[in-house]
Symmetry: C2
Subunit: 371 residues, 2 copies
């Protein structure tokens, strides 16, 4: 019995889009699902109650950040991340691999793991498959990610091959080190932009039989067409009875394409980050709230939206005022709106899949949405 299982409810034969249920120790959640990001044990600006109220079931938190601060011992003493941050839904933690490469200084990769300097205080730290598993067991997340190296773009074939093979060896070490039965470990497919390396990565990981798989190394600067080509061929090879997770994707157009290719899970800081920059997400596109056009606009962010801000009648004019005056409540209203918008958008896609109407939904959405 594994901690994480996936139940396929319906597959759209025309596209490959899937509706399912993700079962975790902290609840079962309809897929496709978007997971808000709570990097430092908090989804910026919102409470766990508010997350639940807007429909979020699974959140993501970052091993790298929590490893550095407050540290795994403190979170373990607190009774794990759920209790520490007061969230009784499910939590997915990444492995720290991505941040070590994007945030850590002076990193040095060996077969053993990665030595780097903390971006907070410059102290020397070490992360490896075993350390990452130890930290993620202390955090007690429902879904644990294998420690990998995200192959950068562009990367030459030899680099991508060496890196991907090491990521696979690291995945095996993660599996051996993960001794908690209440947590599910996902493998991460790498391979850069090379078809044969992607195929080999999938084959090796599937051999290890993880309860779920992430498609890594995409949306790292490559052309959109190349991303979709790699996504398509990777997903095609993954087992149907396991959940598939595309990391770091959170704009409506990319989510739509990801779902079309058969992805079940997504996360991204996009909706919360742009909210803090005064941007609202809608079915028609993005609203830059500072724009003078909203000065006397007494309508809500999006008509018919059920989010806290729209439901309670907060107007564009008021939110514009708050954003210009740098009032925290403005970014809170936008954060609640954007997170709700994405939850609603995922529900709409799921309903379209269940109704055998995903292609139609996609065409209509894209016709209306202004990027």
């Amino acid at each position: 019995m594994t901690a994480i299982t996936y139940e396929l409810i319906k597959k759209d034969e025309a596209t490959g889009a899937r509706a399912g249920i993700l079962h975790t120790p902290h609840g079962s959640f309809p897929t496709p699902i978007f997971m808000p990001v709570g990097t430092q044990a908090s989804v910026k600006g919102v409470s766990p109650d508010e997350l639940k109220e807007l429909g979020a079931g699974v959140i993501l938190s970052n091993t790298y950040h929590l490893f550095l601060r407050p540290g795994m011992d403190l979170v373990r003493e607190a009774g794990g991340l759920h209790r520490f941050m007061n969230w009784d839904g499910a939590i997915l933690t990444d492995s720290g691999g991505f941040q070590v490469f994007s945030l850590g200084d002076l990193r040095k990769i060996t077969e053993d793991g990665v030595t780097f300097r903390s971006h907070i205080d410059g102290s020397k730290k070490f992360l490896s498959p075993e350390v990452s598993m130890e930290v993620q067991m202390a955090l007690g997340s429902d879904i644990v990610m294998a420690f990998d190296e995200c192959v950068p773009y562009p990367a030459d074939y030899e680099y991508a091959k060496t890196s991907t093979e090491r990521t696979t060896r690291w995945a095996k070490r993660c599996k051996d080190a993960m001794t908690s039965e209440s947590q599910g470990l996902f493998g991460i497919v790498q391979g850069g932009m090379y078809k044969d390396l992607r195929e080999k990565s999938v084959a090796d990981l599937v051999e290890l039989d993880f309860p779920g798989y992430a498609v890594g190394g995409l949306s790292v600067g490559e052309p959109k067409e190349l991303m979709y080509e790699m996504l398509g061929l990777t997903v095609h090879l993954l087992p149907e009875d396991k959940p598939r997770y595309l990391m770091g994707v959170g704009t409506p157009d990319y989510l739509l394409e990801g779902v079309m290719y058969g992805i079940d899970m997504f996360d991204c800081v996009f909706p919360t980050r742009v909210a803090r920059n005064g941007m609202a997400m809608t079915h028609e596109g993005r609203l830059v709230m500072k724009n003078a056009a909203y000065t006397r606009d007494f309508s809500v962010l999006e008509e018919g939206c059920g989010c806290y801000a729209c439901r309670n009648g907060y107007t564009r004019a008021y939110i514009r005022h708050l954003v210009r005056a740098e009032e925290i409540f403005g970014l809170r209203l936008l954060t609640l709106h954007n997170l709700y918008f994405l939850q609603a958008f995922m529900r709409e896609m799921r309903e379209a899949i269940l109704a055998d109407a995903f292609s139609d939904f996609r065409a209509k959405f894209l016709a209306r949405y202004q990027k």
Copy 2:
């Protein structure tokens, strides 16, 4: 019939402390009352729902700030400040006088009013009794404050006399200009630290018969003893059947003394400002959440506290982590706690007055409270 009335329920004869009810067009509220400050049409970080939930009934908003941004026309178009910010409790707006002198640049005072430069964009602006009333009518606040000059400390006798006499003439002009019957205009006592000027200020304002009076020009840098001396003699002269408001006071020790002297209403940015700096208010004194002492402290901010943070079990260790990591949710939890703390503290004082036990309550509180 005036928009604002005060009902005296009980007076503590030993001290002069009063329990009463403040009746406004947006509800009736037990006094003594602490009013959270929403300078720019938002109490920093919290929603109107949360304010109501933590027991706040009246909030303060700043005419100076709203006059400059978003401007009175926009708020009027929005249907007034209550509708603009979605708050159906009562609102008190100050007159803009204090901010013109503390924030505006290049101010020039004449009998007519004050010319100054906006601290936002440097543009030239003019506020006067008539303009302040026009703005406050556009805002539609329940309680409107007369346009005054806060006599600085120290000020020589001649300056204080000239300024106070002008403030009285301005109060008369405010009364003439305030034509809204759903708003109550309070006079503001000035007089600096001069007994005879204070007495004259009170006498002249009482002659104008306002529905409430503020004690202005205190807590401006003078020694504590001098402040209490001026407060005592001023309050003593004010009519018993009108509410009394001490502006800009929000620490427990000052609130306790203010109530003892017979003040009914208070406002201050203190609880919200220190929350943003990582400080929690408790009956034992202030907690600086960054202190290492709280690293592994899994107790709540204050045992028995009914605020959102304490009621839901958010620990000092978690809040310390959020403050150190500069997470917005940390300052939100502290803001909700501090505002709740002050609402609870005012209730406790009121109950002590009603139980003829205010002196005892005060002595016990001061013995426990570490400044």
